[in-house]
């Protein structure tokens, strides 16, 4: 064997030991750099968000460093990084997760008169641990040739025998279904909630499979007549121009069901400043930017979400679904009831 090869082979254990010390130079380090930056962990995988971060950098000179991953995993990472975490701002797409992050001491309270005045009290943490950025509603898409909106006034209506073999929904593993169920638990208690889930599951046209968009496409194909889906997936489908989805756009209409007495189920995606943030001022600046009129319009138009800021117009496609009256339930309840909701959904046979 050549000499250099054997040197290499002999010294590699030492190299291996040094390996963990190799760090990526792209931001995210100790925070004493001259340039201003903010480190973001986010679960929002949208092109709108990336464009907004770029706009923020152009406007303020503050660099945005980003890690995108799923909520739970991001929380696990934050927890294990502890006080050494480089994360300044946590963005998730579920109020329940934000509540979890708060309960596990991963967020710090932020005082900002601006933020408090812009975000309605129901859509933020009372002590400023997190603020809602956008709202999504869990609504019903239906086949306009077979169903009338009046038949779908409430979520409870879905358990009626007339819907047997006609409902479409994705699996109970999906967070948005869990959060709808958590709202049911909060409003009506576990027993009624379970009876509701059992009634819905009994009316499924098929075993849950695929994502929200798949339910909408199945609706267009006549596999079912009513589909439970998030408003922004419907908004994206209805405003798209893919020829193969033209039939879905022709057939689908949307009803905004209520929880009986109190409005349509909504969830927020939102953000909070990390407990050990080293760039708090920059993080707050980014939060304020994302809640500014310009960014809120971008969320509405680009991603078909309901803006949380008062005075920003809802996208015309969402507008055509009808006027949204959000459920007034305290969003913290979604997180508190999530585990119960999951257990009930499983027991109810909603795969």
């Amino acid at each position: 064997m050549p000499k250099h090869m054997s040197v290499l082979l002999n010294s590699w254990p030492i190299l291996l030991l040094l390996l963990p010390l190799v760090r990526c130079s792209d931001g995210g380090s100790t925070g004493n750099e001259a340039s201003r930056q903010v480190n973001v962990y986010s679960h929002r995988h949208y092109d709108t968000d990336k464009a907004l971060f770029d706009a923020f950098t152009r406007a303020t000179g503050i660099e945005v460093n980003l890690v995108l991953a799923d909520d739970n995993e991001v929380l696990a990472r934050l927890e294990r990084e502890g006080e050494r975490s480089p994360c300044d701002l946590l963005i998730t797409s579920d109020a329940g997760r934000l509540g979890q992050a708060r309960m596990r001491g991963l967020l710090r309270p932020v005082r900002s008169a601006l933020l408090d005045s812009v975000v309605p009290a129901a859509l933020r943490d009372p002590e400023g641990h997190w603020y809602g950025l956008t709202m999504r509603a869990r609504v019903l898409a239906y086949n306009r040739n077979k169903v009338r909106a009046e038949e779908l006034p409430t979520y409870q209506a879905l358990t009626a025998p007339q819907w047997k073999g006609r409902l479409l929904a994705r699996s109970s593993e999906n967070l948005y279904n869990q959060s709808l169920m958590a709202a049911f638990v909060a409003h009506y208690g576990p027993d009624s909630a379970q009876a509701w889930a059992r009634g819905v599951a009994a009316n499924f046209a098929r075993d849950p499979k695929g994502g929200d968009t798949d339910q909408l496409l199945a609706l267009a194909e006549g596999i079912g007549d009513v589909a439970l889906a998030n408003s922004y997936y419907i908004g994206k489908l209805m405003s798209g121009d893919e020829p193969e989805r033209a039939r879905a756009r022709e057939v689908i209409a949307v009803a905004l069901p209520t929880m009986g007495g109190s409005g349509t189920h909504v969830n927020v995606s939102g953000a909070g400043v990390a407990r050990h943030a080293r760039h708090e001022a920059e993080a707050i600046a980014l939060l304020e930017f994302l809640l500014g009129a310009e960014a809120q319009r971008a969320f509405a138009e680009g991603n078909k979400e309901y803006p949380v800021r008062r005075g920003v117009a809802v996208d015309p496609v969402l507008e055509s679904f009808g006027t949204l009256t959000p459920d007034t339930l305290d969003l913290a309840q979604l997180g508190l009831n999530n585990a119960t909701a999951v257990k009930l959904l499983q027991a109810a046979g909603w795969r």
Binding site: N39, V67, A69, P86, S171, N338, V342
Partner: protein, 529 residues
């Protein structure tokens, strides 16, 4: 085995080698010891409600996938190794190609074609009124079998095309015809190789999350995520991870039993192929064509079509940067994993005592654990190291920890071929070197390793392919603003923008082509050596 034990080194080198390799076990220990260190408040519910349903569907999926992958892999390997038929030369290497398709991409692509609202399904429905739907448990077995069979095909082909000539010639002289020669002679002799491949298929099936989630199948892996994300109970999730480890340990034992009567590799020349003419030749070509067409060509063409349709909007710069990072990370991870595998194999070959053997075998268990669970173990270990060293920053989110995590996850992929290669080396040559006064380290470096070069290259390539396809580990552990191809696919697929996910998905497949073809050449050369 007895001879190896008698060769036990007196020095401290083997023990030191194992100690150095122990960090690999740390994340696995986090998972295995979860019942003692992690609270699991929801465990009674998980045990009663989730585990039974999820275990039974896991076993069905496992059985169906492994059966299909083994049948396809072995069948195709026998055809190309024992017969001459039209197109054989192309099929011989092309049948390896599905190895480049990650299971989640294969599954979602198939759903877009043959799911309830897939493009082919819609046409079939319009023409016949019947609606094909591949998005269910049997359908997923088929899809996974079609993309995973090369794990069986490669080793089976290597055994069939070399090393069997004498046995098969004897069978021919005794009057055994084609099928009987296969069933009575070739298959039993190739069984250890096939079992090794089937084990890899099983592990790939067990750790899949993307495909099973999309198809609505309840497996132990989805149970982990339900407990973690739905019930907010990471403790229960880790316990399920431990169960999964137990299941894999069982499979490992089964595989080792199948090796018990292993025949030593021989120096036989390559197998003489029987020409198939006329209808039989066409049938063989059709069979191989069907497997290749369904396992690779169909999904690849679909991805190509989708990529073409979004080409005007393609963010080329982002994806090409991701391509560069994917290649870089895959290369670094493959090198680190191979180094660890060599270290452990050294202890295994030259060390003394059953505990060395046990540790070395256990260090390969990470392969079957879902990446996200490995990530928790790795983050726990790295976070502990941060505190122990009093670092001002965290190691989590560094390239080094990402590479380390890949080594933990994919060690088995490098370890098994290296151990297999070492097992084929005569123990007498080690003894000769030792009697001439060479230390175990020197013997290993000068005698054992040089002969292992093709195996080492194969191990590097296999790990690189796995890293290129890997998603969850990269997603959680990556540094800021660090995209690989698989995270690019994920970001688009997560928002249900499947067409936009096509260009990076296609790049993953292309990126895997080179290593897969290298692997194929290596396997062939080994077969002929």
């Amino acid at each position: 085995m007895a001879t190896r034990r008698s060769l036990g080194a007196r020095g401290i080198a083997p023990g030191a080698a194992v100690l150095l390799a122990l960090p690999v076990l740390a994340p696995l220990l986090v998972v295995l010891t979860a019942p003692w260190h992690a609270r699991a408040v929801e465990w009674p519910h998980v045990w009663r409600t989730i585990i039974p349903a999820h275990t039974s569907e896991t076993l069905l999926l496992l059985g169906g996938t492994v059966f299909l992958a083994t049948a396809l892999g072995t069948g195709c390997a026998w055809l190309v190794a024992a017969f001459d038929f039209p197109g054989r030369r192309i099929f011989r290497w092309a049948l390896v190609l599905p190895l480049t398709v990650p299971t989640y991409i294969g599954a979602i692509t198939y759903a877009a074609l043959l799911g309830p609202t897939g493009s082919i399904s819609l046409q079939v429905h319009a023409a016949t009124g019947w609606r094909p739907d591949i998005v269910d448990l049997p359908g997923l077995c088929v899809v996974l079998g079609l993309v995973l069979y090369p794990y069986v095909y490669l080793p089976a082909r290597a055994v069939f095309s070399g090393g069997l000539r004498d046995a098969l010639d004897a069978a021919r002289l005794l009057g055994a015809r084609g099928v009987r020669r296969f069933r009575a002679v070739a298959l039993p002799l190739a069984r250890p190789a096939i079992a090794g491949g089937a084990l890899l298929v099983a592990m790939e099936t067990l750790n899949d999350y993307g495909a099973v989630k999309f198809y609505g199948i309840r497996t132990l892996t989805t149970a982990i995520f339900q407990s973690w994300g739905g019930l907010y109970d990471l403790g229960s999730a880790l316990r399920i991870g431990g169960l999964l480890l137990g299941l894999v340990a069982l499979l490992l034992l089964l595989e080792r039993r199948s090796r018990r009567h292993r025949r030593q590799a021989t120096e036989d020349p390559a197998l003489q192929r029987t020409p198939l003419r006329g209808a039989r030749g066409s049938a063989a070509a059709t069979a191989c064509g069907l497997v290749l067409g369904l396992g690779f060509v169909l999904p690849a063409v679909k991805l190509l079509g989708d990529a073409w349709s979004v080409l005007p909007r393609w963010e080329a710069a982002t994806d090409l940067l991701a391509l560069g990072r994917t290649v870089g990370v895959a290369g670094a991870a493959a090198a680190a994993t191979l180094l660890l595998a060599l270290l452990l194999s050294f202890a295994w070959r030259h060390g003394r005592g059953p505990w060395v053997q046990a540790l070395v075998q256990a260090s390969g268990l990470g392969y079957a654990i879902p990446g996200a669970v490995i990530a928790v173990g790795v983050m726990t270990a790295a976070g502990g190291l941060d505190r122990a060293l009093g670092l001002p920053f965290t190691l989590i989110g560094s390239i080094g920890v990402l590479v380390y995590a890949f080594a933990v996850r994919f060690l088995a992929v490098a370890l098994h071929p290296v151990q297999g290669g070492l097992a084929r080396q005569s123990i007498a040559q080690d003894e000769a070197a030792r009697m001439l006064g060479a230390s175990p380290v020197r013997t290993y470096l000068r005698i054992n390793l040089p002969a292992l070069r093709p195996v080492m290259l194969a191990a590097l390539v296999l790990v690189a392919i796995d890293v290129i396809k890997e998603l969850p580990l990269t997603l959680i552990l990556r540094p800021f603003d660090f995209d690989t191809l698989s995270t690019r696919v994920f970001e688009q697929a997560r928002i249900e923008a499947m067409e936009a996910a096509a260009p990076p998905a296609l790049l993953i497949v292309l990126c895997g082509l080179v290593p897969v073809l290298v692997l194929d050449r290596l396997a062939e050369r080994r077969a002929q050596a």
